[in-house]
Symmetry: C2
Subunit: 407 residues, 2 copies
């Protein structure tokens, strides 16, 4: 079908409105994915399709020596303190592979069950659903802290075990959740899992690459991580790490050997549809950003990040009526606030709920969803102290401008 030039013009040379070099971006799921300058060069250098495969010998990206992908994956596994790491499309894809492969070991007629925290990301539910696996949730304590009752993994696992028609394939913990930024220590859950003989999955999509993390300390059998969310990478790229005992289950080789056309594919990995080669540019940026990520996740640097987040939180709480959700003291830079006073102010503002977005943007700040004033999620990760102070002062100034009480 012929397409007119006018129809195409709109998309050609598409540019983003709010780039991080122009604005302070508070978007809660974007802060951990901002590329350091050296990786922007890497992105351009590897920007063309399949650029990672120039010197691929074996037909598997995880074995490429130039650039040193194989060496990098070993280093990544060492850093995260797991036996083995493999790139995947995203943390969600890693979860899907784990869930589906564990479920494949369950006898026919028995329903596989995944036990997850009640704060789990939607993609955990959907990954399980797409693998035909039932999900059972471990509760949190509800509004306003939403604190996970982690010790209840034991009861929930036992309840499923009491039913012979169902089998717990694994327990999954969302290390930090994306709604409230609550961080649950994995050790509590891993001890329960060990005792119950249940494999333990840590979804580290919002922690690995953000804060200090050790799979060994966490007691994890599997760790999923996200490059575009939390390892300063261009999307999509995730990392699936596991202990040695699960490596063959997760990454089985193709059994196709000598088909009609005489070809064999037994070096290819079926769960990765052969080879995760399609992740060239994203993987290149993940590798390039790794030094930056290793540095920023050192305990002393993470402490500074938390200080910044807490500074902004305490500033926002000076606005009468603003409340913070989630566990206190807050252990993550992702935060959610109930902002009823802004909702009230919106009623009289000419642009209604959009006033906050516009006022912030006029002050060089973006990432608060346009029109959203009832509550807001934001993230200070990676911002300089002065930027955090500017954000806090801006909220105070806007509050005052719209007649809110500020203490």
């Amino acid at each position: 079908m012929d397409i007119t030039k006018d129809e195409l013009k709109k998309f050609q040379g598409l540019l983003r409105d709010n780039t991080p070099d122009q604005y302070i971006n508070l978007q809660p799921i974007q802060r951990g994915g901002v590329l350091p300058p050296e990786s922007r060069k890497t992105l351009l250098s590897y920007g063309d399709g399949y650029s990672m495969c120039d010197f691929c010998l074996s037909g598997r990206i995880d074995e490429i020596e130039k650039p040193a992908v194989g060496e990098f994956l070993k280093l990544f596994a060492k850093w995260i303190e797991m036996d083995f790491s493999m790139p995947t499309g995203a943390s969600r894809e890693a979860k899907k592979i784990i869930i589906q492969q564990l479920a494949s070991k369950v006898s026919s007629g028995v329903k596989p069950v995944l036990v997850v925290d009640g704060l789990a990301h939607y993609s955990t539910f959907v990954a399980a659903e797409s693998a035909g696996v039932e999900v059972v949730e471990v509760p949190h304590d509800g509004h306003p802290t939403f604190k996970l009752e982690a010790e209840k993994y034991a009861d929930v696992i036992d309840q499923v075990k009491d039913d012979s028609s169902r089998q717990v394939i694994a327990a999954l913990l969302t290390h930090a959740d994306y709604l409230y930024g609550n961080v649950t220590p994995p050790e509590i859950v891993s001890k329960i899992c060990k005792k119950k003989g249940v494999p333990f999955i840590v979804n580290g999509a919002y922690t690995v690459g953000i804060m200090p993390f050790s799979g060994k300390k966490a007691g994890a059998d599997f760790v999923t991580a996200s490059g575009h969310k939390s390892m300063a990478s261009s999307g999509p790229i995730g990392m699936l790490s596991c202990s040695a005992e699960f490596q063959d289950l997760l990454f089985p080789r193709s059994t196709i050997e000598g088909n009609w056309s005489g070809r064999s594919f037994n070096h290819k990995i079926t769960t990765l549809l052969g080879c995760p080669s399609v992740y060239g540019a994203p993987l290149a940026t993940l590798m390039s950003s790794f030094a930056h990520v290793v540095e920023r996740t050192k305990p002393e640097n993470w402490e500074k990040e938390k200080e910044n987040a807490r500074l902004l939180a305490s500033t926002l709480l000076r606005i009468d009526g603003v409340k913070m959700l989630g566990v206190q003291p807050h252990e993550h830079t992702m935060m959610q606030f109930e902002t009823e006073p802004f909702e009230e102010a919106a009623k009289n503002a000419p642009k209604k709920g959009f006033f906050l977005y516009n006022e912030l943007k006029a002050r060089g700040i973006v990432g608060i969803f346009p029109g959203m004033v009832k509550s807001m999620k934001l993230n200070t990760y990676g911002l300089a102290r002065a930027q955090v102070e500017h954000v806090g002062q801006s909220f105070i100034d806007i509050a005052k401008k719209y007649g809110l009480t500020v203490y």
Copy 2:
């Protein structure tokens, strides 16, 4: 685990050796994935993780209005002349979704079978394997043309149909194969499929975005395409297009509604693990490059591309002993040659098989696999006439330098 600065330095600011602005790159699967200049800007602009989601209202990237993803997908479907198009991670992921969803309709106890061409890409086999689907091949005529015997789809389908324990879920045709660059007209296969009542999948990973293509003319129920291979996009990004009748089967909504934590995910698509949101930067480049792709696939431009390829082929065939594989006249810019004389020359060359790579690189040409001299695959797509002439002359000069006979 602590990682030393030395261990990290190697990866930081990783740069590719052979970028297309420095070298003429003949790499057969990369030529169609080279970004036009405007899309390199787009790549940088959308380079950070989740940058496409700034103004996402519904939680689904295919519905985003800013940038106009929803509008773009409709335009793409119009261009490819299919009812519906959805981004996926790659053509292989698109194939997996189609195969898996078609197989899900087969009665238990019956073995689902996919009929494919004997030139099918390995990822077709692995996608079927991972979905528990048997693959049966339609033969080609072997060395040196490897011409697909497309009319034999009828017999192969009938043979499977004769066996009540097996069911043909679909027939798949690799429109252009990556080994010899043979192009098989889909119309031959679609007619057979229609007669036999079998859904028809066209793998357009090496044709959609490269040459004129119409899903309607092809008679396809499904078309898979690859952004990083053939639509001038940064990887990974594919496109799954289908006729309206299969849309719900391929993209089912989650049935999770009101779980313990009160959340519903029924707007999410299970086969995409919720939302293909992870493809931000790659999708942005696909959208940006679309104008370029629409232009280059116009018949008159594709004719020029084929002329360039045939010019290089005829030049290479002037070297005594060099033979071209695949169907003649050749209908694609991907080509494979048997280069026995270069293999002979390598025996006496100081760097053995690497001489060809080094000699070409010294002339500003890369993409022929280092050490590979027995046969070579290359692609002239998107090169200027002068570049193609330079490549041809370089091969001739190298041949003469190493004492080969040139006519």
